[in-house]
Assembly symmetry: C2
Homo-oligomer: 199 residues x 2
């Protein structure tokens, strides 16, 4: 006696989600099939649309439905400043803090040798090309103040040193071990204003 194949396949497919093990995959499958079939259908459609439509902005590397994202396409932004963040959510947090009008680069991750996440996985090649385009004058590193975020900041600073750019790190106005996503706008603005020059 086993589950029907399409049920087992759904349970198994749900395990691709981070933090979802066999028991919660099973609970999710039963919930969707039993209590929210409309939600299950909406999820399938949203996955299809996201896979079909989303790509990475060719300049800042964030998720975008167009080759150039809205923010990069805005001529009013200061073209000489480039702020480097780990994830799109961090970019949105900085925008909400309304303290910065330059451009961004989104790494889409952080270095974590222990998890096998190396320079290529966080798009350092693409960052180098972007930062060294001759227009950018200042790079502000706004990775998280976690161990991985600090290692990533250090590596980027090393790569950019001696390239004629001002390289700074947002100030540690945030709690040690804190992540940008979870900090209030005021603290974040403070950390950005108090950034210190590196190298």
């Amino acid at each position: 006696m086993k589950n029907p194949p399409s049920l087992d396949q759904l349970i198994s497919a749900l395990k691709v989600l981070p933090g979802v093990g066999p028991k919660s995959a099973q609970r999710m499958a039963f919930h969707l099939l039993q209590r929210d079939q409309a939600g299950a259908d909406r999820l399938a459609r949203a996955l299809d649309r996201a896979l079909a439509n989303l790509t990475h902005c060719e300049r800042c590397n964030t998720f975008s439905e167009t080759p150039l994202c809205n923010l990069c396409a805005e001529p009013a932004r200061n073209q000489h400043q480039l702020c480097i963040v780990e994830m799109p959510a961090d970019l949105l947090m900085l925008e909400q803090a309304r303290c910065y009008d330059g451009l961004y680069f989104v790494l889409m991750g952080r270095l974590s040798p222990i998890d096998g996440i190396g320079p290529k996985d966080v798009n350092l090649d693409k960052l180098m090309v972007r930062a060294l385009d001759g227009v950018v004058e200042e790079v502000i590193i706004a990775t998280n103040f976690t161990a991985e975020g600090e290692v990533t900041a250090h590596m980027i600073a090393e790569l950019l040193k001696d390239r004629g750019l001002a390289v700074s790190r947002i100030a540690r106005g945030m709690p040690v071990g804190g992540e940008l996503e979870y900090v209030d706008s005021g603290t974040l603005a403070q950390a950005l204003y108090e950034r210190r020059q590196l190298g």
Copy 2:
């Protein structure tokens, strides 16, 4: 500055999953788009297939791809015993314990007035029709020994009393508050053998 629409829609759609709030929905969306697009596609396909193929067995109410599930279609099973469980996973656990050769009824839930889950949501009408078909002689209630499972067992016992059926409850050989899914086969077999007559 906002996320592209198809990204926001995916984050929002992921929140239909039980236990998934805005922050983990966002983490899941980034993970799928950034690190496992193949997994995201597999999940969308599995949702479609499950929604298209799965229905409820007309006899035992468990998930099935056919009108009658494999177990209900097996002539070798004892047609006179009906064991009532909350979820398909509980049925699978009892089958693994290899201590029972009768049939099942799967409620697909448990009574929980506090969550607005009433008799209709746990298919008590369908259960009555099934249990009173004239062939079933004994009903064994194997809902969980949680507060909701006990209330459900009590309600079913009340409904079936005085209908000429032997109604029993699996023995509390399981830890108090325990759920069938998490118990070892030996304990589960013991609980079934030591079931006591109700009413």
